[in-house]
Amino acid sequence: MVSFSSKLFRTLLVCGFAVTVSSVDAQDRPPVDPAKVDALIQGMFTRVSPEWRARAVLDDTQRACTERRNQVSGAEADAIQARERASVVLPPDGNFLGDWRKGFQVANNGRGLQFSDPAGTVAGGNCYACHQMSPKEVSYGTLGPSLAGYGRERNYDPELIRDAYIKIFNAQAAVACSNMPRFGSSKVLTIDQIKDVLAYLFDRQSPVNQP
């Protein structure tokens, strides 16, 4: 179903609903004590399993990106990228491209890692939530850049295939504090799933590379 609320919402904006803003000044927000924020958050998750509670604990990269609201300095970015790059595991067989048809499933699947998912749910990459991929697919999000024609535009260059593998395995190995998940390092996707989705981007037969 088409998102009628959001379209309608934009329409309300287009149609110019005037509303007055009486803003609250920045000085109304005192600096927060990080320990209090941590306690507040732990208080929300007292009834979940220890495994789930652990997911609310920040690693060093999450902590840095949170504190800087993703605007890290050059030196901080270098440190993050070096650390994240170190966690990337290249395919043991040296083969980067899997099956683009399975890759489509990975890109199209938004399930997994939600607290409502049954145990054992295989997670997808949900790339379509954020990226345009096949130019034929109309239901795509815009949080990330368009990847339509990705392999074709790169002449299927093996070096760029390797770069893209690393990007998907750990987006922050390339761009510190990227909004894209670190799919391999965070164990959302397996190496095989990453190879499949990479084939979806780089196989000549893939719909991504068709006009």
Partner: protein
Amino acid sequence: MSRMRGILALVAAAATCAGIAGTMAQTQDESEREIERYRAMINDPMANPGYLAVDRGEVLWAQARGTKAVSLETCDLGEGPGKLEGAYAKLPRYFADADRVMDLEQRLLWCMEKIQGLDTADVIRRRFSGPGRASDMEDLVAFIANKSNGTRIEPQTAHAREREMLAMGEALFYRRAGAMDFSCATCHAEPGKRIRLQGLPDFSTPGKQAQETMGSWPTYRVSQSALRTMQHRLWDCFRQQRWPEPAYASDGLTALQMFLNVQAAGGEITVPSIKR
């Protein structure tokens, strides 16, 4: 039956107006007429099933319950005991008797326990309605929030605890965690972004998007056939964020609402609205 026709008409009106926005084929005048029709529709108690929740909430508010067998009518939502008009527009706020900053749902639970002597375990179990399971909280929120219609969101920041809650809510909004490193800001900090085809409101800057959003909750969600409160919306966003399930009426959710309402200050409340 007339109610169902109303909803269909509403969807049609919304689609028409959205079409106008997309193609710009029609004049501003026409789209404004559509918007007017839409507004009239959501204000029409016969067309919006959310008003059934309002009616049920009115009954619950006046019903004697709990070990003390009294109603909620002496509950103070911040404007004085039993005073409902405009109360929702100023929540969450600090309550001296509880020594806590509370949102409407926390405050209602507090009143149930303190005033009515009601065991809230069952109420909390039914916090979100489902097929054959009504939710007292959804109904009460619909009734009480509706009493603030026409007023504007007025976040309370005079008390130090309110300012602290606001600051923590803001920190929480930007906090990245979980297996996918998401924060609220991943999805709600830039204008004009979408997930698949769903438009994402930008809450990072104060103004219209936050106002339109916060002024329209609680809402009747057509896709769920249920009246939903902000607690449910945030619960759903935590799910999408791949974070753990947040406890109902926990303080972190109040902090987030505080922050969102500050971004939405001045927004007009028109509830229950009706959404996808």
